[in-house]
Subunit: 198 residues, 2 copies
């Protein structure tokens, strides 16, 4: 053991965070030692509170500190459109654009045979229940643009299309500000495919 026990334990805890190696964990642990007593107590309390007070929204599955999240309980939002995303990080990303006014549905993952995740582990049943209320007109599938996201999008689309609901997918194309020279072939092909008249 390199450090005194309580410090070593803290270092090991920091190591469990995504992307934190040992040297970084040591730096963080020393940061904690340099904090005021009060700040450290607040830090510990923030960790406990995040685990204790954050629950998935009963309707959409987004992170929430009450029964239904701030988006689902906002009456000004368009209840006829649901944007289907993999996780609540995607909700935050789309909310930042301040353009979309519909609701969300968080799947909690994507279909991934490699990781042993099938449709029944995702919140797809809950999505069908929401569609069942008859309020929904359009489903925007915004899973990530990779094979698993695509598979999930196709799966949901096949389930939902017979219910007479419009299913759309985020547009593929070259990202704004990018250089065509460095765009991969698949992206360029999709951008050509999806070309629009100006």
């Amino acid at each position: 053991m390199e450090y005194v026990l309580p410090l070593q334990r803290l270092i090991e805890k920091f190591c469990t965070l995504r992307g934190v190696g040992y040297k970084t964990a040591v730096r963080y642990a020393f940061s904690v030692l340099d904090m005021d007593e009060q700040d450290a107590v607040e830090f510990a309390e923030a960790i406990l509170s995040a685990k204790r007070d954050i629950h998935p929204c009963k309707i959409c599955g987004n992170l929430s500190d009450s029964d239904s999240c701030s988006i689902c309980s906002d009456n000004s939002r368009d209840r006829s459109v649901i944007c289907v995303v993999e996780d609540s990080r995607a909700v935050t990303a789309i909310e930042k654009v301040k353009e979309y006014k519909g609701l969300y549905h968080v799947l909690n993952g994507v279909i991934s045979p490699v990781n042993n995740i099938g449709p029944e582990q995702l919140r797809i049943k809950e999505l069908l229940d929401r569609i069942g209320t008859g309020e929904v007109r359009e489903l925007i599938i915004a899973t990530n643009p990779n094979i698993e996201g695509e598979t999930t999008a196709m799966y949901i689309s096949k389930l939902v299309t017979p219910l007479n609901i419009k299913v759309t997918r985020l547009a593929y194309g070259v990202p704004v500000g990018a250089d065509l020279e460095y765009a991969d072939e698949m992206t360029l092909m999709r951008a050509l495919d999806g070309r629009r008249q100006i």
Copy 2:
């Protein structure tokens, strides 16, 4: 506010760690959400314990979870040599070498007029008290090899030399494995200065 309040609070707490920006803090906060309840409780407890149970050793100032640190209370160590360092991280660095068998003295910083730190803010009085016991023969000054570390080394050396104590400084030179082409002039000059017969 981008995230639900308890999450936002946790993100801000992570931002107070040294070298953590907002995006990294978000990643860490989501890592905490992904933890088991038990792991999160242990993490919070590790933070509180580090602040509560770690105190400076009464003798050398190194981090300790009891009155005197494991090095000071180790009777097999040579009590006639004290290695003077800036902080307890330096103690760990030197201990890793497993070569040095003397004691340490942690100054808690270096003399730095720019940051308004004078000798009276460092644990120099405590060092003189330890020397006063008559047990100490040699002081190895291992402050960092920069202007402030050098100034502090000179200051201590001037105080201690009249007490008939040998004062030494870590050797300067080219680091093992380095390329001479890229060594800075000051380091090369010091390496020439300190050359030894082979």
